[in-house]
C-alpha cells in the first residue's frame, strides 16, 4: 500500500497552509475544497513545484522533502506526475511526440505510447497537432502523457473543469479504468463533489489551508451534510446520500436497473453501458429528492420504497430561522439523508427510532459515470 505522509506549512501573504496528515493511497483519493482552500497548492507541493514550504513530505518511506535536513527532491526525480487543469501539452509536438517525450524520459518503461494511445482512445489523433484538439481530447493526451512516465503516484488537478458533460463522463470512466488496469494510486483534486463521489475511494476535505476531514468517500460526504453550512460552499455541496451498491439486475424487463440494499431493492433507469451483475455501482440521492411516509405507500407512481427508522433529526445550524430539517434514516444498516420542512416534521410528529418509509423516484438515483 502506498502511503503519503504530509507534514508541512506554507505561507503566502494572506494565505497560510498547514497540513499534518498521513494518506493511504489506495485507489483514488479525492481532495475536495472550495476555490482558495489550498487544493492545488497541496498537489503542487507534493509534486515539488511549490518551493517555499517548510516541513516534510514522505512517499512510501522515501523522503521527498525535509527542510530541517535541507533535503529537497527535484520535481523531475520524485516519480510523481501531475496532470494540470489546462493540459499544458507541448504545442511544438504532435500528440504522439508529446507522449514520446514522457516515454523517453521514463527509466525501465513497461508501457509504450502505442498501448497508451489505445487505452486512452487517441489512436486516430496520434499524428494530430495539439492545437487541433478539443479540450476533452487535450486532457486525454495530458493524462496519457502522465501515465507514460509510469509514476508511483498520479496527481490530477481539476482535470475535468474545462470540459462539457459528455467529455467529463468519458474522462472519468477512463480515469477509473486506468486506475484499475495499472493499479496506480491517484490523488484527484476537484471542487465538484459529484465527480469525486463517482470515482474516489477516500476523500480529504480542505478548507482555508487546513484539513477538516479525511476518510471513506461515502462517510466524508455524509459528514459534509452536517457541517457544510460552516464551509463557504459556493453552492458546491448538496446534502445527499452517497452509495455503492451491487447490481441485482441490469434490467428488470421494464427499463429499470435494480440495486440490492440487503433484502430491499432500489430501482433506477437502466444504463446503456456494459455492466455486470453484482458489480458495485456508485450513485447518490439528493436529500431534497427523498420524502418520508409514516405508512407504507401504496398505489404510488414512485417506484422506490424503503423501510427504516429515524436515527437523527437535525435542524439547520447556521440559519436559526430556517424552516427545514435534515432527518437521518437507517434502512438495512445504510444511512439515508432526507431534507424536509419543519412544517412536515411537525405534521408527522417525527421522533428518534420511529419506523418510517422513504420514497423517491427512480430518476432521483443519480450516477454520472455511465
Amino acid at each position: 500500500m502506498t502511503t503519503l505522509r504530509l507534514d508541512f506549512n506554507l505561507n503566502y501573504k494572506a494565505f497560510n497552509f498547514t497540513i499534518n496528515q498521513t494518506i493511504d493511497l489506495t485507489g483514488i483519493t479525492g481532495v475536495f475544497g472550495h476555490s482558495g482552500s489550498g487544493k492545488s497548492t497541496l498537489l503542487r507541493a507534493i509534486a515539488g513545484l511549490e518551493k517555499k514550504l517548510t516541513g516534510s513530505i514522505v512517499l512510501n518511506d522515501k523522503a521527498l522533502l525535509n527542510t530541517s535536513q535541507k533535503l529537497y527532491e527535484k520535481p523531475e526525480q520524485r516519480g510523481i506526475s501531475l496532470v494540470f487543469q489546462d493540459s499544458r501539452l507541448f504545442p511544438h509536438l504532435t500528440v504522439r511526440d508529446n507522449l514520446k517525450y514522457a516515454a523517453k524520459r521514463c527509466i525501465n518503461s513497461k508501457l509504450n505510447p502505442t498501448d497508451i494511445l489505445k487505452l486512452t482512445e487517441l489512436e486516430h489523433l496520434a499524428d494530430a497537432n495539439v492545437d487541433e484538439l478539443s479540450s476533452g481530447q487535450k486532457q486525454r493526451v495530458a493524462l496519457a502523457r502522465a501515465l507514460l512516465t509510469e509514476p508511483k503516484l498520479l496527481l490530477l488537478d481539476e482535470p475535468l473543469s474545462a470540459l462539457d458533460q459528455a467529455s467529463k463522463n468519458k474522462l472519468l470512466s477512463l480515469i477509473v479504468k486506468i486506475q484499475q488496469q495499472l493499479n496506480l494510486p491517484i490523488l484527484y483534486v476537484s471542487h465538484s463533489l459529484d465527480e469525486l463521489q463517482q470515482v474516489c475511494d477516500n476523500m480529504l476535505i480542505l478548507s482555508q489551508g487546513n484539513v477538516i476531514n479525511y476518510g471513506n468517500i461515502h462517510h466524508t460526504i455524509h459528514q459534509l451534510n452536517f457541517y457544510s453550512d460552516h464551509l463557504p460552499s459556493e453552492g458546491l455541496i448538496h446534502q445527499q446520500t452517497s452509495l455503492s451498491l451491487p447490481i441485482a439486475s441490469k434490467d428488470n424487463g421494464q427499463g429499470l436497473m435494480v440495486l440490492a440494499l440487503a433484502e430491499q431493492e432500489i430501482f433506477l433507469p437502466s444504463l446503456p453501458n456494459q455492466l455486470f451483475k453484482n458489480e458495485q455501482l456508485r450513485c447518490f440521492i439528493l436529500a431534497s429528492d427523498i420524502s418520508i411516509c409514516l405508512s407504507e405507500p401504496q398505489n404510488s407512481s414512485i417506484v422506490n420504497h424503503l423501510s427504516g427508522s429515524i436515527s437523527a433529526i437535525e435542524s439547520r445550524t447556521v440559519d436559526a430561522n430556517s424552516n427545514s430539517v435534515l432527518v437521518t434514516v437507517i434502512c438495512s444498516e445504510q444511512e439515508f439523508f432526507v431534507h424536509i420542512s419543519t412544517f412536515s416534521q411537525q405534521k408527522l410528529a417525527l421522533y428518534i427510532n420511529q419506523p418510517v418509509h422513504l420514497q423517491f423516484k427512480a430518476g432521483a438515483v443519480r450516477t454520472y459515470l455511465y
Binding site: L49, I80, S81, D86, R88, L89, Y101, R105, D131
Partner: protein, 227 residues
C-alpha cells in the same frame, strides 16, 4: 594579398559571428535570469543592459579604450593572462561589440522567456525532464523565432557598429579594420566611388540578412496566431 576592402569584409564577418555566438552564450542565461527574477534589483540590471542604447558609441568606446589600455586594471589583467595587449586587438573589438550589442540580444530573449512562462516548464518537470533538458526540448523550440531575431539583430548591429570599434580597435588592417570604418575612410579620403560600392554592398547584404530572418520567422508567427 587580398584587397583591403575584402580584408575588412572578412574581419567584419568574423567579428560579427564571434560576437553573435558570445552574445547568445552570455545573453541567454542573462535574459533567462532577468525573466525569472522578481527582486527589485531586476530594474537596475535591466537598465545596465539597456545602457548601450542611450550611451553614444564614441563615449562607450572612449571609456572602453581607457579600461583596455595597458595602464589600467582590466587591460593589465588581460595582458597577464593572455600575454597580449587588449586594446587595438581583435579581442578588444569583440568585447566592445558584445557590450554594445547586448541589449539587442537580451531584450528579445527576455521578452520571449517571460511570454513563455512557467507552465510548460512545470509540465516538462512532471514528465521527468531536468532543467537543461527542459531548456533544449521546450524553451528553445518554442522561442526559436526570438533566438533568430536576437541573433540577427546582434549580428546586424555589430556589422553596422562604428564608434566603439573606431575608438578601441585603432583601425588596423586585417585585425580591427571593419567595413564601416573602411567606408568612412573612403569618404574621408574623397574616394567616393569605392565608398558607394561598399555602402551599397553593405546595404544589400544587410537587407538580405534581415529579409531572411523575417522570412524564417513568418511561418511560426502564423501558427502562433492560429493557436
Amino acid at each position: 594579398m587580398p584587397s583591403p576592402d575584402f580584408l575588412a569584409l572578412v574581419v567584419t564577418l568574423k567579428m560579427a559571428t564571434v560576437t553573435t555566438v558570445i552574445l547568445l552564450l552570455i545573453g541567454t542565461p542573462l535574459a533567462w535570469y532577468l525573466a525569472k527574477m522578481t527582486s527589485r534589483f531586476k530594474v537596475i540590471i535591466e537598465a545596465i543592459v539597456a545602457l548601450p542604447l542611450v550611451l553614444p558609441p564614441t563615449v562607450l568606446g572612449f571609456y572602453l579604450l581607457i579600461a583596455f589600455s595597458p595602464q589600467h586594471l582590466p587591460g593589465q589583467i588581460w595582458q597577464q593572462v593572455t600575454g597580449q595587449q587588449l586594446a587595438f586587438s581583435f579581442s578588444a573589438i569583440v568585447i566592445g561589440s558584445v557590450l554594445y550589442s547586448l541589449p539587442f540580444v537580451v531584450q528579445p530573449l527576455q521578452k520571449a522567456f517571460e511570454q513563455l512562462g512557467d507552465s510548460l516548464l512545470e509540465a516538462g518537470a512532471m514528465l521527468g525532464a531536468g532543467p537543461f533538458d527542459r531548456f533544449f526540448t521546450i524553451v528553445l523550440p518554442l522561442t526559436k523565432a526570438s533566438f533568430i531575431t536576437a541573433a540577427s539583430l546582434g549580428f546586424a548591429h555589430t556589422v553596422g557598429e562604428f564608434g566603439v570599434i573606431l575608438m578601441i580597435g585603432g583601425n588596423i588592417p586585417g585585425e580591427t579594420r571593419v567595413l564601416s570604418i573602411t567606408l568612412f575612410d573612403h569618404v574621408e579620403a574623397f574616394d567616393y566611388a569605392k565608398a558607394h560600392i561598399l555602402a551599397i554592398s553593405l546595404l544589400i547584404g544587410s537587407m538580405i540578412l534581415l529579409a531572411c530572418v523575417y522570412l524564417l520567422n513568418l511561418p511560426r508567427n502564423k501558427t502562433d496566431k492560429l493557436s
